[in-house]
Symmetry: C2
Subunit: 279 residues, 2 copies
Protein backbone atom coordinates (compact mmCIF):
# COMPACT_ATOMS: atom_id res chain seq x y z
CA UNK A 1 0.00 0.00 0.00
CA UNK A 2 1.00 3.59 -0.45
CA UNK A 3 0.67 6.65 1.70
CA UNK A 4 0.31 10.21 0.45
CA UNK A 5 2.62 11.23 -2.35
CA UNK A 6 3.95 13.99 -0.14
CA UNK A 7 5.43 11.31 2.06
CA UNK A 8 8.51 10.19 0.36
CA UNK A 9 11.62 11.42 -1.28
CA UNK A 10 14.11 13.96 -0.02
CA UNK A 11 13.21 17.46 1.02
CA UNK A 12 14.55 19.37 -1.97
CA UNK A 13 12.30 22.22 -3.06
CA UNK A 14 11.47 22.87 -6.66
CA UNK A 15 8.86 25.58 -6.18
CA UNK A 16 11.25 27.66 -4.16
CA UNK A 17 13.73 27.92 -7.00
CA UNK A 18 11.58 29.56 -9.57
CA UNK A 19 14.32 31.38 -11.45
CA UNK A 20 15.13 28.27 -13.45
CA UNK A 21 11.62 28.22 -14.97
CA UNK A 22 10.38 30.48 -17.69
CA UNK A 23 7.15 32.09 -16.65
CA UNK A 24 3.81 30.87 -17.94
CA UNK A 25 3.35 34.21 -19.67
CA UNK A 26 5.96 33.19 -22.22
CA UNK A 27 3.84 30.21 -23.04
CA UNK A 28 0.81 32.47 -23.23
CA UNK A 29 2.59 34.60 -25.80
CA UNK A 30 3.02 31.65 -28.12
CA UNK A 31 6.73 31.02 -27.60
CA UNK A 32 8.02 27.65 -28.82
CA UNK A 33 6.94 24.82 -26.57
CA UNK A 34 9.21 23.93 -23.68
CA UNK A 35 8.15 21.70 -20.76
CA UNK A 36 9.55 24.24 -18.31
CA UNK A 37 7.51 27.07 -19.79
CA UNK A 38 4.86 26.73 -17.06
CA UNK A 39 5.32 26.23 -13.32
CA UNK A 40 5.93 22.55 -12.60
CA UNK A 41 3.31 20.90 -10.44
CA UNK A 42 3.05 17.47 -8.95
CA UNK A 43 -0.54 16.24 -8.91
CA UNK A 44 -1.65 13.68 -6.35
CA UNK A 45 -4.88 12.13 -5.14
CA UNK A 46 -5.59 11.88 -1.42
CA UNK A 47 -8.39 9.71 -0.08
CA UNK A 48 -10.88 10.28 2.70
CA UNK A 49 -12.06 6.69 3.21
CA UNK A 50 -14.96 6.52 5.63
CA UNK A 51 -16.71 3.55 7.18
CA UNK A 52 -18.88 2.88 10.22
CA UNK A 53 -17.38 0.53 12.79
CA UNK A 54 -18.68 -0.14 16.27
CA UNK A 55 -21.26 2.67 16.04
CA UNK A 56 -18.75 5.35 15.13
CA UNK A 57 -17.62 7.01 11.94
CA UNK A 58 -14.03 6.01 11.15
CA UNK A 59 -11.48 7.06 8.55
CA UNK A 60 -8.54 5.19 7.12
CA UNK A 61 -5.18 6.61 8.20
CA UNK A 62 -1.67 5.48 7.26
CA UNK A 63 1.57 6.14 9.09
CA UNK A 64 4.25 8.13 7.29
CA UNK A 65 7.53 6.30 6.88
CA UNK A 66 9.67 9.27 5.83
CA UNK A 67 10.09 12.99 6.50
CA UNK A 68 8.51 15.38 6.53
CA UNK A 69 5.98 14.46 9.21
CA UNK A 70 7.77 11.11 9.67
CA UNK A 71 5.81 8.81 11.96
CA UNK A 72 2.68 10.97 11.80
CA UNK A 73 -0.66 9.73 10.53
CA UNK A 74 -1.89 10.86 7.13
CA UNK A 75 -4.57 10.13 4.55
CA UNK A 76 -3.72 7.49 1.96
CA UNK A 77 -2.86 8.85 -1.47
CA UNK A 78 -0.29 8.99 -4.22
CA UNK A 79 0.80 10.41 -7.54
CA UNK A 80 -1.45 10.58 -10.55
CA UNK A 81 0.30 8.73 -13.35
CA UNK A 82 0.92 10.34 -16.70
CA UNK A 83 -1.82 8.47 -18.57
CA UNK A 84 -4.35 8.19 -15.77
CA UNK A 85 -7.61 10.01 -15.15
CA UNK A 86 -8.09 11.47 -11.67
CA UNK A 87 -10.86 9.03 -10.75
CA UNK A 88 -8.77 6.12 -12.05
CA UNK A 89 -5.86 7.21 -9.89
CA UNK A 90 -8.11 7.42 -6.86
CA UNK A 91 -9.56 3.97 -7.53
CA UNK A 92 -6.07 2.53 -7.94
CA UNK A 93 -4.86 4.07 -4.68
CA UNK A 94 -7.96 2.77 -2.95
CA UNK A 95 -7.26 -0.75 -4.14
CA UNK A 96 -3.64 -0.47 -3.02
CA UNK A 97 -4.42 1.09 0.35
CA UNK A 98 -7.52 -0.81 1.43
CA UNK A 99 -8.10 -3.59 -1.07
CA UNK A 100 -11.42 -2.00 -1.98
CA UNK A 101 -13.09 -2.00 -5.35
CA UNK A 102 -15.33 0.84 -6.52
CA UNK A 103 -19.00 0.67 -7.54
CA UNK A 104 -20.12 1.00 -11.05
CA UNK A 105 -21.48 4.55 -10.69
CA UNK A 106 -24.50 3.65 -12.82
CA UNK A 107 -25.56 1.00 -10.33
CA UNK A 108 -26.73 1.27 -6.73
CA UNK A 109 -24.41 -0.04 -4.01
CA UNK A 110 -23.18 -3.53 -4.76
CA UNK A 111 -21.81 -5.94 -2.21
CA UNK A 112 -18.37 -5.25 -0.82
CA UNK A 113 -17.64 -2.33 -3.11
CA UNK A 114 -17.29 1.33 -2.25
CA UNK A 115 -18.68 4.65 -3.43
CA UNK A 116 -16.09 7.09 -4.78
CA UNK A 117 -16.52 10.74 -5.70
CA UNK A 118 -14.30 13.75 -6.09
CA UNK A 119 -14.21 15.93 -2.99
CA UNK A 120 -12.11 19.06 -3.59
CA UNK A 121 -8.65 20.16 -4.64
CA UNK A 122 -6.04 21.57 -2.29
CA UNK A 123 -3.26 23.66 -3.75
CA UNK A 124 -1.78 25.99 -1.16
CA UNK A 125 1.75 26.73 -2.39
CA UNK A 126 3.24 25.66 0.95
CA UNK A 127 1.06 22.70 1.83
CA UNK A 128 4.05 20.46 1.12
CA UNK A 129 7.31 21.97 2.41
CA UNK A 130 9.41 20.42 -0.36
CA UNK A 131 7.66 21.28 -3.59
CA UNK A 132 4.48 22.44 -5.23
CA UNK A 133 1.90 19.67 -4.88
CA UNK A 134 -1.74 19.99 -5.88
CA UNK A 135 -3.86 17.27 -4.35
CA UNK A 136 -7.25 16.24 -5.72
CA UNK A 137 -8.99 14.77 -2.69
CA UNK A 138 -11.59 12.05 -3.16
CA UNK A 139 -14.25 10.79 -0.79
CA UNK A 140 -14.85 7.06 -0.38
CA UNK A 141 -17.76 5.52 1.52
CA UNK A 142 -17.15 1.87 2.30
CA UNK A 143 -18.98 -0.86 4.22
CA UNK A 144 -17.33 -2.14 7.37
CA UNK A 145 -14.75 -4.66 6.19
CA UNK A 146 -14.46 -7.56 8.60
CA UNK A 147 -11.44 -9.33 7.11
CA UNK A 148 -9.18 -7.12 4.99
CA UNK A 149 -6.97 -5.46 7.54
CA UNK A 150 -5.47 -2.88 5.19
CA UNK A 151 -2.20 -4.04 3.65
CA UNK A 152 -1.73 -6.62 6.33
CA UNK A 153 0.63 -4.28 8.21
CA UNK A 154 -1.70 -3.22 10.98
CA UNK A 155 0.94 -0.94 12.41
CA UNK A 156 1.13 1.18 9.26
CA UNK A 157 -2.60 1.64 8.66
CA UNK A 158 -5.68 1.83 10.84
CA UNK A 159 -9.31 2.81 11.04
CA UNK A 160 -9.58 5.68 13.51
CA UNK A 161 -12.69 7.52 14.73
CA UNK A 162 -12.86 10.79 12.88
CA UNK A 163 -13.12 12.90 16.07
CA UNK A 164 -9.85 11.39 17.22
CA UNK A 165 -8.12 12.30 13.96
CA UNK A 166 -9.68 15.76 13.83
CA UNK A 167 -8.97 16.66 17.45
CA UNK A 168 -5.38 15.52 17.05
CA UNK A 169 -5.29 13.13 19.98
CA UNK A 170 -6.75 9.74 20.86
CA UNK A 171 -8.89 8.75 23.85
CA UNK A 172 -5.81 8.39 26.07
CA UNK A 173 -4.71 11.93 25.24
CA UNK A 174 -1.84 10.70 23.05
CA UNK A 175 -1.24 13.26 20.28
CA UNK A 176 -2.07 11.98 16.80
CA UNK A 177 -2.18 15.07 14.54
CA UNK A 178 -2.55 14.43 10.83
CA UNK A 179 0.26 15.43 8.47
CA UNK A 180 0.07 18.33 6.00
CA UNK A 181 -3.42 19.82 5.59
CA UNK A 182 -5.02 16.40 5.93
CA UNK A 183 -7.10 17.38 8.97
CA UNK A 184 -8.76 20.03 6.84
CA UNK A 185 -9.30 17.57 3.99
CA UNK A 186 -10.75 15.00 6.38
CA UNK A 187 -13.06 17.61 7.93
CA UNK A 188 -14.30 18.59 4.47
CA UNK A 189 -14.88 14.93 3.58
CA UNK A 190 -16.79 14.22 6.76
CA UNK A 191 -18.96 17.28 6.24
CA UNK A 192 -19.66 16.19 2.65
CA UNK A 193 -20.69 12.73 3.82
CA UNK A 194 -22.88 14.13 6.60
CA UNK A 195 -24.78 16.39 4.25
CA UNK A 196 -24.94 13.99 1.35
CA UNK A 197 -26.77 11.21 3.20
CA UNK A 198 -29.53 13.73 3.87
CA UNK A 199 -30.69 13.98 0.29
CA UNK A 200 -29.25 10.86 -1.32
CA UNK A 201 -29.35 7.14 -0.69
CA UNK A 202 -25.58 7.05 -0.15
CA UNK A 203 -25.88 5.87 3.45
CA UNK A 204 -26.45 2.41 1.97
CA UNK A 205 -22.81 2.52 0.76
CA UNK A 206 -21.82 2.05 4.42
CA UNK A 207 -23.97 -1.09 4.69
CA UNK A 208 -23.37 -4.68 3.63
CA UNK A 209 -25.22 -5.87 0.50
CA UNK A 210 -28.23 -6.86 2.59
CA UNK A 211 -29.13 -4.90 5.69
CA UNK A 212 -32.02 -4.13 8.02
CA UNK A 213 -33.74 -0.82 8.67
CA UNK A 214 -32.15 -0.78 12.12
CA UNK A 215 -28.68 -1.22 10.67
CA UNK A 216 -29.27 1.63 8.25
CA UNK A 217 -30.50 3.77 11.14
CA UNK A 218 -27.34 3.06 13.10
CA UNK A 219 -25.34 4.27 10.10
CA UNK A 220 -27.19 7.59 10.13
CA UNK A 221 -26.76 7.84 13.90
CA UNK A 222 -23.01 7.20 13.67
CA UNK A 223 -22.40 9.60 10.79
CA UNK A 224 -24.49 12.39 12.27
CA UNK A 225 -23.64 11.63 15.88
CA UNK A 226 -27.25 11.81 17.00
CA UNK A 227 -30.02 9.46 18.13
CA UNK A 228 -32.97 8.99 15.80
CA UNK A 229 -36.45 7.79 16.66
CA UNK A 230 -36.54 4.18 15.38
CA UNK A 231 -40.25 4.29 14.58
CA UNK A 232 -40.23 7.53 12.60
CA UNK A 233 -37.05 6.41 10.83
CA UNK A 234 -38.67 3.13 9.85
CA UNK A 235 -41.75 4.88 8.52
CA UNK A 236 -39.64 7.35 6.56
CA UNK A 237 -37.20 5.00 4.81
CA UNK A 238 -39.74 2.30 4.00
CA UNK A 239 -42.14 4.96 2.69
CA UNK A 240 -39.66 6.55 0.29
CA UNK A 241 -40.14 4.88 -3.13
CA UNK A 242 -37.00 3.35 -4.59
CA UNK A 243 -34.86 3.76 -1.48
CA UNK A 244 -35.09 0.20 -0.14
CA UNK A 245 -36.05 -3.07 -1.85
CA UNK A 246 -37.01 -6.01 0.40
CA UNK A 247 -35.09 -9.19 -0.38
CA UNK A 248 -37.62 -11.44 1.34
CA UNK A 249 -35.18 -12.69 3.95
CA UNK A 250 -34.98 -11.84 7.61
CA UNK A 251 -32.23 -11.80 10.21
CA UNK A 252 -31.88 -11.71 13.97
CA UNK A 253 -28.21 -10.70 13.97
CA UNK A 254 -29.05 -7.57 15.93
CA UNK A 255 -31.07 -9.55 18.52
CA UNK A 256 -34.78 -9.12 19.20
CA UNK A 257 -37.56 -9.73 16.75
CA UNK A 258 -36.45 -10.86 13.26
CA UNK A 259 -36.00 -7.93 10.93
CA UNK A 260 -36.64 -7.76 7.20
CA UNK A 261 -33.59 -7.60 4.96
CA UNK A 262 -33.31 -4.95 2.24
CA UNK A 263 -31.06 -4.06 -0.65
CA UNK A 264 -30.44 -0.51 -1.87
CA UNK A 265 -33.06 0.49 -4.43
CA UNK A 266 -32.51 2.37 -7.63
CA UNK A 267 -33.30 5.82 -6.24
CA UNK A 268 -30.23 7.97 -5.73
CA UNK A 269 -31.95 11.22 -4.71
CA UNK A 270 -34.31 11.25 -1.76
CA UNK A 271 -37.24 13.57 -2.02
CA UNK A 272 -38.20 14.77 0.51
CA UNK A 273 -34.78 14.36 2.16
CA UNK A 274 -33.92 12.75 5.47
CA UNK A 275 -33.91 15.50 8.06
CA UNK A 276 -30.93 15.84 10.35
CA UNK A 277 -32.05 16.80 13.87
CA UNK A 278 -30.87 19.79 15.92
CA UNK A 279 -31.98 22.45 13.43
Amino acid sequence: MQASAEHRGPAASAAGDRSVYRQADDYDRGMPYDPSAFPPFAVTVDLVVLTVRRHSLCALAVRRAEPPFQGRWALPGGFVKADEDLAQAAARELAEAAGLRVHDPAQPAQGGTAHLEQLATYGDPHRDPRMRVVSVAHLVLAPDLPAPRPGGDADRARWAPVEELLQGHDRDGEPTPLAFDHARILADGVERARSKIEYSSLATAFCPPEFTVGELRRVYEAVWGVALDPRNFHRKVTGTPGFLVPTGGTTTRQGGRPAQLFRAGGATLLNPPMLRPEV
Copy 2:
Protein backbone atom coordinates in the same frame (compact mmCIF):
# COMPACT_ATOMS: atom_id res chain seq x y z
CA MET B 1 -7.98 39.59 -20.34
CA GLN B 2 -6.98 35.97 -20.72
CA ALA B 3 -8.75 32.97 -22.06
CA SER B 4 -8.20 29.38 -20.94
CA ALA B 5 -4.62 28.34 -20.49
CA GLU B 6 -5.20 25.61 -23.02
CA HIS B 7 -5.62 28.31 -25.63
CA ARG B 8 -2.21 29.44 -26.47
CA GLY B 9 1.15 28.18 -27.45
CA PRO B 10 2.07 25.67 -30.08
CA ALA B 11 0.69 22.20 -30.29
CA ALA B 12 3.71 20.27 -29.04
CA SER B 13 2.79 17.41 -26.73
CA ALA B 14 4.63 16.70 -23.51
CA ALA B 15 2.37 14.00 -22.13
CA GLY B 16 2.75 12.00 -25.28
CA ASP B 17 6.52 11.73 -24.89
CA ARG B 18 6.65 10.05 -21.53
CA SER B 19 9.90 8.17 -22.03
CA VAL B 20 11.93 11.22 -21.07
CA TYR B 21 10.44 11.27 -17.58
CA ARG B 22 11.37 8.99 -14.76
CA GLN B 23 8.31 7.41 -13.25
CA ALA B 24 6.82 8.61 -10.00
CA ASP B 25 7.65 5.26 -8.46
CA ASP B 26 11.31 6.24 -8.41
CA TYR B 27 10.36 9.24 -6.32
CA ASP B 28 8.24 6.97 -4.14
CA ARG B 29 11.26 4.80 -3.50
CA GLY B 30 13.23 7.69 -2.07
CA MET B 31 15.57 8.30 -4.98
CA PRO B 32 17.41 11.64 -4.97
CA TYR B 33 15.14 14.52 -5.88
CA ASP B 34 14.83 15.42 -9.52
CA PRO B 35 12.15 17.72 -10.93
CA SER B 36 11.40 15.19 -13.65
CA ALA B 37 10.89 12.37 -11.17
CA PHE B 38 7.11 12.75 -11.37
CA PRO B 39 4.87 13.23 -14.40
CA PRO B 40 4.80 16.90 -15.38
CA PHE B 41 1.43 18.57 -15.11
CA ALA B 42 0.23 22.02 -16.01
CA VAL B 43 -2.39 23.29 -13.56
CA THR B 44 -4.94 25.84 -14.65
CA VAL B 45 -8.10 27.42 -13.30
CA ASP B 46 -11.18 27.70 -15.48
CA LEU B 47 -14.11 29.89 -14.52
CA VAL B 48 -17.85 29.34 -14.80
CA VAL B 49 -19.02 32.95 -14.36
CA LEU B 50 -22.80 33.14 -14.11
CA THR B 51 -25.09 36.13 -14.03
CA VAL B 52 -28.76 36.84 -14.72
CA ARG B 53 -29.46 39.19 -17.61
CA ARG B 54 -32.80 39.91 -19.20
CA HIS B 55 -34.52 37.10 -17.28
CA SER B 56 -32.08 34.40 -18.35
CA LEU B 57 -29.08 32.71 -16.83
CA CYS B 58 -25.94 33.68 -18.73
CA ALA B 59 -22.32 32.59 -18.61
CA LEU B 60 -19.17 34.45 -19.62
CA ALA B 61 -17.50 32.99 -22.72
CA VAL B 62 -14.32 34.09 -24.46
CA ARG B 63 -13.24 33.43 -28.02
CA ARG B 64 -10.07 31.40 -28.58
CA ALA B 65 -7.40 33.19 -30.56
CA GLU B 66 -5.15 30.21 -31.28
CA PRO B 67 -5.36 26.50 -31.99
CA PRO B 68 -6.53 24.09 -30.92
CA PHE B 69 -10.21 25.06 -31.14
CA GLN B 70 -9.21 28.39 -32.71
CA GLY B 71 -12.18 30.73 -33.02
CA ARG B 72 -14.33 28.58 -30.73
CA TRP B 73 -15.88 29.86 -27.51
CA ALA B 74 -14.42 28.72 -24.20
CA LEU B 75 -14.58 29.46 -20.51
CA PRO B 76 -12.13 32.07 -19.22
CA GLY B 77 -9.15 30.71 -17.34
CA GLY B 78 -5.40 30.54 -17.13
CA PHE B 79 -2.33 29.09 -15.49
CA VAL B 80 -1.87 28.92 -11.78
CA LYS B 81 1.34 30.74 -10.97
CA ALA B 82 4.11 29.13 -8.96
CA ASP B 83 3.44 31.02 -5.73
CA GLU B 84 -0.33 31.32 -5.98
CA ASP B 85 -3.11 29.54 -4.18
CA LEU B 86 -5.89 28.09 -6.35
CA ALA B 87 -8.51 30.55 -5.11
CA GLN B 88 -6.08 33.43 -5.62
CA ALA B 89 -5.48 32.34 -9.19
CA ALA B 90 -9.22 32.15 -9.82
CA ALA B 91 -9.77 35.61 -8.34
CA ARG B 92 -6.96 37.03 -10.47
CA GLU B 93 -8.34 35.49 -13.65
CA LEU B 94 -11.78 36.81 -12.76
CA ALA B 95 -10.43 40.32 -12.39
CA GLU B 96 -8.58 40.03 -15.70
CA ALA B 97 -11.48 38.49 -17.59
CA ALA B 98 -14.44 40.41 -16.23
CA GLY B 99 -13.13 43.19 -14.03
CA LEU B 100 -14.92 41.61 -11.08
CA ARG B 101 -13.77 41.60 -7.48
CA VAL B 102 -14.61 38.78 -5.08
CA HIS B 103 -16.53 38.97 -1.80
CA ASP B 104 -14.92 38.63 1.50
CA PRO B 105 -16.19 35.09 2.18
CA ALA B 106 -16.88 36.01 5.81
CA GLN B 107 -19.36 38.70 4.72
CA PRO B 108 -22.68 38.42 2.92
CA ALA B 109 -22.86 39.74 -0.64
CA GLN B 110 -21.45 43.22 -0.96
CA GLY B 111 -22.23 45.62 -3.76
CA GLY B 112 -20.71 44.90 -7.14
CA THR B 113 -18.62 41.97 -5.97
CA ALA B 114 -18.99 38.32 -6.81
CA HIS B 115 -19.20 35.00 -4.99
CA LEU B 116 -16.42 32.55 -5.80
CA GLU B 117 -16.12 28.89 -4.84
CA GLN B 118 -14.26 25.87 -6.10
CA LEU B 119 -16.36 23.69 -8.40
CA ALA B 120 -14.45 20.55 -9.39
CA THR B 121 -11.24 19.43 -11.03
CA TYR B 122 -10.98 18.00 -14.53
CA GLY B 123 -7.97 15.91 -15.39
CA ASP B 124 -8.70 13.56 -18.26
CA PRO B 125 -5.31 12.79 -19.84
CA HIS B 126 -6.54 13.86 -23.26
CA ARG B 127 -8.70 16.84 -22.41
CA ASP B 128 -6.03 19.07 -23.96
CA PRO B 129 -4.59 17.54 -27.15
CA ARG B 130 -1.14 19.09 -26.62
CA MET B 131 -0.17 18.22 -23.07
CA ARG B 132 -1.34 17.06 -19.68
CA VAL B 133 -3.43 19.84 -18.15
CA VAL B 134 -5.37 19.55 -14.90
CA SER B 135 -7.94 22.29 -14.54
CA VAL B 136 -9.44 23.33 -11.22
CA ALA B 137 -12.78 24.82 -12.21
CA HIS B 138 -14.32 27.55 -10.08
CA LEU B 139 -17.88 28.85 -9.96
CA VAL B 140 -18.56 32.58 -9.84
CA LEU B 141 -21.97 34.15 -9.21
CA ALA B 142 -22.04 37.80 -10.20
CA PRO B 143 -24.66 40.55 -10.32
CA ASP B 144 -25.63 41.83 -13.75
CA LEU B 145 -22.91 44.32 -14.70
CA PRO B 146 -24.34 47.23 -16.67
CA ALA B 147 -21.09 48.97 -17.63
CA PRO B 148 -18.01 46.72 -17.68
CA ARG B 149 -18.24 45.06 -21.03
CA PRO B 150 -15.56 42.44 -20.38
CA GLY B 151 -12.13 43.58 -21.51
CA GLY B 152 -13.61 46.20 -23.77
CA ASP B 153 -13.26 43.84 -26.73
CA ALA B 154 -16.87 42.77 -27.12
CA ASP B 155 -15.96 40.51 -29.98
CA ARG B 156 -13.64 38.37 -27.87
CA ALA B 157 -15.92 37.95 -24.85
CA ARG B 158 -19.66 37.81 -24.28
CA TRP B 159 -22.43 36.84 -21.94
CA ALA B 160 -24.34 33.99 -23.52
CA PRO B 161 -27.45 32.19 -22.25
CA VAL B 162 -26.32 28.89 -20.79
CA GLU B 163 -28.73 26.81 -22.89
CA GLU B 164 -27.17 28.30 -25.98
CA LEU B 165 -23.67 27.35 -24.83
CA LEU B 166 -24.74 23.91 -23.66
CA GLN B 167 -26.74 23.02 -26.76
CA GLY B 168 -23.84 24.13 -28.96
CA HIS B 169 -25.80 26.53 -31.15
CA ASP B 170 -27.42 29.95 -30.77
CA ARG B 171 -31.00 30.98 -31.45
CA ASP B 172 -30.32 31.30 -35.19
CA GLY B 173 -28.98 27.76 -35.34
CA GLU B 174 -25.38 28.94 -35.74
CA PRO B 175 -23.06 26.36 -34.16
CA THR B 176 -21.23 27.63 -31.06
CA PRO B 177 -19.79 24.54 -29.37
CA LEU B 178 -17.49 25.16 -26.43
CA ALA B 179 -13.83 24.13 -26.65
CA PHE B 180 -12.27 21.23 -24.74
CA ASP B 181 -14.51 19.76 -22.01
CA HIS B 182 -15.89 23.19 -21.18
CA ALA B 183 -19.49 22.25 -21.94
CA ARG B 184 -19.25 19.59 -19.25
CA ILE B 185 -17.66 22.05 -16.81
CA LEU B 186 -20.34 24.64 -17.54
CA ALA B 187 -23.09 22.06 -17.06
CA ASP B 188 -21.62 21.08 -13.70
CA GLY B 189 -21.38 24.72 -12.65
CA VAL B 190 -24.97 25.47 -13.65
CA GLU B 191 -26.20 22.42 -11.78
CA ARG B 192 -24.22 23.49 -8.70
CA ALA B 193 -25.74 26.98 -8.84
CA ARG B 194 -29.25 25.60 -9.33
CA SER B 195 -29.03 23.34 -6.32
CA LYS B 196 -27.11 25.74 -4.11
CA ILE B 197 -29.69 28.53 -4.20
CA GLU B 198 -32.17 26.04 -2.77
CA TYR B 199 -30.55 25.78 0.62
CA SER B 200 -28.36 28.88 0.79
CA SER B 201 -28.84 32.60 0.41
CA LEU B 202 -26.48 32.66 -2.60
CA ALA B 203 -29.18 33.88 -4.99
CA THR B 204 -28.52 37.33 -3.54
CA ALA B 205 -25.07 37.20 -5.17
CA PHE B 206 -26.89 37.68 -8.50
CA CYS B 207 -28.60 40.83 -7.21
CA PRO B 208 -27.39 44.41 -6.89
CA PRO B 209 -26.56 45.60 -3.34
CA GLU B 210 -30.18 46.62 -2.75
CA PHE B 211 -32.97 44.69 -4.37
CA THR B 212 -36.67 43.95 -4.07
CA VAL B 213 -38.40 40.66 -3.33
CA GLY B 214 -39.65 40.63 -6.90
CA GLU B 215 -36.14 41.02 -8.28
CA LEU B 216 -34.92 38.16 -6.11
CA ARG B 217 -37.81 36.05 -7.33
CA ARG B 218 -36.91 36.75 -10.94
CA VAL B 219 -33.39 35.50 -10.16
CA TYR B 220 -34.78 32.20 -8.90
CA GLU B 221 -37.06 31.97 -11.92
CA ALA B 222 -34.19 32.59 -14.35
CA VAL B 223 -31.78 30.16 -12.69
CA TRP B 224 -34.34 27.38 -12.31
CA GLY B 225 -36.21 28.18 -15.50
CA VAL B 226 -39.61 28.02 -13.81
CA ALA B 227 -42.35 30.40 -12.72
CA LEU B 228 -42.86 30.87 -9.00
CA ASP B 229 -45.96 32.10 -7.18
CA PRO B 230 -45.11 35.71 -6.21
CA ARG B 231 -47.24 35.60 -3.05
CA ASN B 232 -45.86 32.36 -1.64
CA PHE B 233 -42.35 33.45 -2.56
CA HIS B 234 -42.80 36.73 -0.74
CA ARG B 235 -44.11 35.01 2.37
CA LYS B 236 -41.26 32.51 2.30
CA VAL B 237 -38.28 34.84 1.87
CA THR B 238 -39.51 37.55 4.22
CA GLY B 239 -40.35 34.91 6.80
CA THR B 240 -36.93 33.27 6.82
CA PRO B 241 -34.90 34.93 9.61
CA GLY B 242 -31.60 36.44 8.51
CA PHE B 243 -32.22 36.02 4.78
CA LEU B 244 -33.27 39.59 3.97
CA VAL B 245 -32.75 42.87 5.85
CA PRO B 246 -34.99 45.83 4.90
CA THR B 247 -33.02 48.96 4.13
CA GLY B 248 -36.01 51.23 4.64
CA GLY B 249 -36.03 52.50 1.06
CA THR B 250 -38.47 51.67 -1.72
CA THR B 251 -38.30 51.63 -5.48
CA THR B 252 -40.65 51.55 -8.42
CA ARG B 253 -38.03 50.52 -10.97
CA GLN B 254 -40.03 47.39 -11.80
CA GLY B 255 -43.25 49.40 -12.24
CA GLY B 256 -46.36 49.01 -10.16
CA ARG B 257 -46.68 49.64 -6.46
CA PRO B 258 -43.44 50.74 -4.74
CA ALA B 259 -41.51 47.79 -3.38
CA GLN B 260 -39.38 47.61 -0.25
CA LEU B 261 -35.65 47.41 -0.77
CA PHE B 262 -33.59 44.75 1.02
CA ARG B 263 -29.97 43.82 1.54
CA ALA B 264 -28.71 40.27 1.99
CA GLY B 265 -28.85 39.26 5.65
CA GLY B 266 -26.24 37.35 7.59
CA ALA B 267 -27.82 33.92 7.14
CA THR B 268 -25.99 31.74 4.63
CA LEU B 269 -27.95 28.51 5.10
CA LEU B 270 -31.70 28.51 4.61
CA ASN B 271 -33.66 26.20 6.82
CA PRO B 272 -36.11 25.03 5.66
CA PRO B 273 -34.80 25.42 2.10
CA MET B 274 -36.44 27.05 -0.88
CA LEU B 275 -38.25 24.31 -2.77
CA ARG B 276 -37.68 23.99 -6.47
CA PRO B 277 -40.94 23.06 -8.24
CA GLU B 278 -41.52 20.08 -10.52
CA VAL B 279 -40.61 17.42 -7.98
